[in-house]
Symmetry: C2
Subunit: 250 residues, 2 copies
DNA sequence: CGCGCCGTTGAGCATTGTCAAATGCGGTGG
DNA sequence: CCACCGCATTTGACAATGCTCAACGGCGCG
């Protein structure tokens, strides 16, 4: 009953694994909230701030990250239009979040959000589905970090990022608004290794730079180079790949 | 409800950061289910099986893992008494699970479980809390895999494992029922590196072998060697247990 | 008592990190 | 419009951590 129609449609509704987000049901919780704008680099909230709000990204790109005591940063995910930030339901944010590109969000008090979830059963399925997707994405990221080489990581990243963007997926034209440092912190690599890998991919024609943050990509080539996906029982691969919103976090 | 007490005291400890899990409310969902026993190595379910059941671990130790197409294995977590398996609410399990030690579990059909969650608001807070804890753990694991050295990983593992077990935490006596291969697959290392790291730790007196799967540990030394914990503001590194509780009564 | 499995240890090597310097994109001001 | 400047990015040389391959050790079980 949690796992309802809505959740299922989030998967199968769109043919291309574009954006299973934007469940109408959850989106309309935020519908009447005013839109706030965050400029590139602007924080939305900080790690261990009291978790007062839940945010819906209307448009833009957000990075979600943890800062370690030695100053290093780990990006646990990039969030796109339709994603929610801060649903983890802890009393403090376990991570910080900043706009990467100009981002428009709607804000909802967490208290009201929880109330809404409690009182309106029709919203719960998609909330749970979202948490599940997020968990699946986290596990995929663990697999990436635990087993993949630098090149596989970068290619995986490019493929999954391309999937978030219809233009990228269909037109082979990929925008990467985030910096190299962002990518490095996300993939558990150094900026130099990321850079070298991009160069190497370019030299082999898997990607072609068209400006600093735009590339023409050969998606099949990248998919091959991305290496292993979870195995077991034929259908499962597709299943995982299609369902898991690889970048969701929060 | 009192079954809860039993479970708390049975083996895995009690007051210490032991289990934010085992919220009495959730435990009693499983209360009347018969106990099933899984012997070491025995699978509970396989990756991409239809997710028909939710399990509560009454006693024992379970590994949860993904198998990659090249045969490698990534262990995404170890689960202890009081933990739940299979709450991810996808229609298929995204991972396999096997008993590491002799394990007793209670099984609940996922359908009934979801029904229960839907109909009984009093259970929802602790379910949410649990999902949040799981997410927090996943993010910590990402941090570990993205930034830590072999030694830091092993020490982190030892400290966190010790925290699950009162005897280990208080008496400095730690049981590690899992194999080196399990540990390696969990920490994103090879079995050789894990072994070497154990030897090195032993030679420096941070741990003292007392049999193949038992060690006497110096927890403070290990905590130091474990390196970075998330920074920023107060003592946010205790997040796992602390935050979940707020929902216990919501 | 011996076999097999799990774990340990060793040597060499590869990938990736570190440190340092050069390059060039993109924005700004003349 | 062009030149310049700052900063992200790239590239290079080198070091090191952890992996691979290989052999050995020892505990447990038949």
């Amino acid at each position: 009953m949690f796992r309802t129609e809505v959740a299922y449609q989030s998967r199968s509704g769109t043919v291309i694994p574009l954006a299973p987000h934007l469940q109408p049901s959850l989106a309309c919780v935020f519908e009447r909230q005013p839109i706030e704008i965050f400029e590139p680099g602007q924080p939305i909230f900080w790690q261990s701030d009291p978790a007062k709000h839940v945010f819906e990204i209307v448009e833009g790109l957000v990075r979600v990250f943890k800062i370690l005591s030695d100053g290093r940063r780990v990006i646990t995910g990039f969030l796109y239009a339709g994603d929610l930030i801060g649903i983890s339901l802890m009393d403090r944010y376990l991570y910080g979040s900043e706009a990467v590109a100009k981002t428009r969000v709607r804000r909802f008090s967490r208290q009201s959000f929880q109330q809404k979830m409690d009182q309106s059963p029709e919203f719960r399925p998609s909330l749970f589905a979202r948490l599940s997707d997020e968990m699946a994405a986290a596990q995929e990221q663990m697999v990436l970090l635990a087993t993949k080489t630098a090149e596989e990581r970068v290619c995986t990243f490019l493929v999954l990022t391309a999937r978030r963007d219809r233009e990228a997926f269909v037109m082979s034209r990929l925008d990467l608004p985030m910096t190299r440092q962002d990518i490095a912190d996300y993939l558990g690599l150094t900026i130099e290794t990321v850079s070298r890998t991009f160069s190497s991919l370019a030299s082999r024609g898997a990607i072609t730079p068209e400006g600093r943050h735009q590339y023409r990509i050969k998606i099949e080539k990248l998919m091959t180079l991305a290496g292993e996906v979870a195995a077991f029982h034929d259908g499962s691969d597709m299943h995982d790949g299609v369902n898991a919103r690889q970048f969701a976090s929060a």
